[in-house]
Amino acid sequence: MTIQRYTFHERICHWLTGLTYCYCLATGLAFYSPWLFWMAIVLGGGPVSRFWHPFVGLVFLAAAIWMHGLWRSDMSITPIDREWLDQAGNYATNNNDDAVPPQGRFNAGQKVFYWAMFYGALLLLISGLVLWFPERVPVGARWIRSFAILLHESAALITIGAFIIHVYMGVFVVPGSVKAIVNGEVSADWARTHHRLWYDRITGR
């Protein structure tokens, strides 16, 4: 028996954010360090990367807002999630999943990841606009320009940390996740194991 986990729209939205995020990540890392500047070369050269980075960033933001519309209610943190987060050690390092409370459609870890990316995207947008048009910031308020650089980089680093864990969890730790986000379906066992409350709800138990 298979269960639909993600709709077509959710999958499109996810991969749109994923693709645009990865482009901004690669070009952004190129501007972050000379040792990673080769990424910009691979993607068509420094000026080309610099030209597209903000525009692709806007697409990422638009996709993130779309995703917010799709998943906002599923992502709200509940008291059970707080309990789960207190017990996260059992989930993350002991593989003792019975010790954590059963979870709904998304577990608390996924929710934390979601909100880190969502607020990260907003901070990246605000600081990114200053980086895009620094000369529009009056000379007297130049601290805003330099502060925006710090903000952009800090926000990016936070999303990178979250992104590493996200990809690792999806690809390696929870088999079946990639299949779920590609063709939308999971097995009943998968749903029951990882998202008990959601499984109970949609199967009417």
Binding site: W35, F37, R50, T93, S146, L157, I165
Partner: protein
């Protein structure tokens, strides 16, 4: 230095050592701008345009003698006209030739992420190489003097080159050649410092400018463009010359501790998940009766 290629001292956004560094015995050069003898004739502005091959651009008239409100990507050199009323009610008309200061510790170069877009020669000239510029404008943020200007059509940033092409051929910068009053001087930094000190002493002894001094700010390691000012205590009155310019703190944090923290976090994150997988491996699905599949 004369008639030889300029030796490179530092390159922006460069991975690895700088080829050719410390192989040269070029002496440091400097331009000295004696503000006290500037008459605001703008010959330097015209000479700069002519040498760099830019046509005269449209200006904005704002009821002053100043050619335009600010420097532009194709206008490296602008005399700022300032009408200043002193505390005792006397009036001063201050004219200051504004442009790149060629800092010994250039904030633009520190901030630049593109390999070779900004170079510093051993003679002290900081030069933008537009071929390598990616148009990110980090240099605009890094500069404590607000000098680099962005051309939004070509997506390249420009500023005064201190006529590196002329200096490399043993000539003085075009503005210096054109100056009719001897307000602009060019030579070795040592000589210019000495000349500036002499002029300041002259001002102290023979004029009422008892606060005259040399502007060679230590916060950016000294500059290869120096001023003699009537009043060294108030450089701000010369059209926003900062009293103690520094490479912005955020740029230093960004290119220093934050970068190392970020590198450590990213490498640690990737290493961490790899070790995690080896230690704990993937999660297993349970079948309906609660047994691992």
């Amino acid at each position: 230095m004369a008639n030889g290629p300029l030796e490179i001292k530092a390159i922006s956004g460069h991975a690895g050592t700088v080829a050719g560094r410390d192989t040269s015995r070029d002496y440091a050069v400097a331009k000295l701008i004696d503000v006290t003898t500037c008459i605001g004739c703008k010959a330097c502005e015209v000479a700069c345009l002519e040498w760099n091959g830019y046509p005269f651009r449209e200006t904005e008239f704002d009821n002053t003698y100043q050619t335009m409100p600010d420097l532009a990507w194709n206008y490296y050199n602008l005399i700022r006209f300032n009408e200043h009323t002193n505390a005792d009610g006397t009036f001063q008309w201050l004219m200051r030739k504004d442009g790149c200061m060629h800092c010994a510790d250039p904030g633009c170069l520190r901030a630049c992420p593109s390999d070779g877009a900004i170079v510093q020669y051993t003679n002290g000239i900081v030069d933008f190489q537009q071929d390598n510029c990616i148009g990110c404008q980090y240099c605009v943020t890094g500069c404590p003097f607000n000098i680099p200007k962005f051309n939004s059509e070509t997506k390249k940033v420009h500023k005064c080159t201190l006529c590196s092409d002329r200096v490399g051929a043993g000539l003085e910068p075009a503005c210096v050649k054109a100056c009719p009053t001897g307000c602009l001087h060019f030579g070795s930094k040592e000589d210019m410092k000495e000349l500036a000190a002499t002029r300041v002493q002259q001002l102290h002894e023979h004029t009422s400018h008892k606060n005259a001094g040399v502007y060679d700010p230590a916060g950016v390691g000294g500059t290869h463009v120096m001023y003699v000012l009537h009043d060294i205590n108030e450089p701000e009155k010369y059209g926003g010359l900062p009293k103690d310019p520094q490479v912005p703190l955020s740029v230093r944090i960004w290119k220093g501790p934050l970068k190392w923290l970020g590198n450590l976090a990213m490498a640690g994150g990737i290493l961490g998940v790899a070790v995690h997988y080896l230690r704990f491996g993937p999660k297993r699905e349970m079948s309906e009766n609660g047994k691992p599949k």
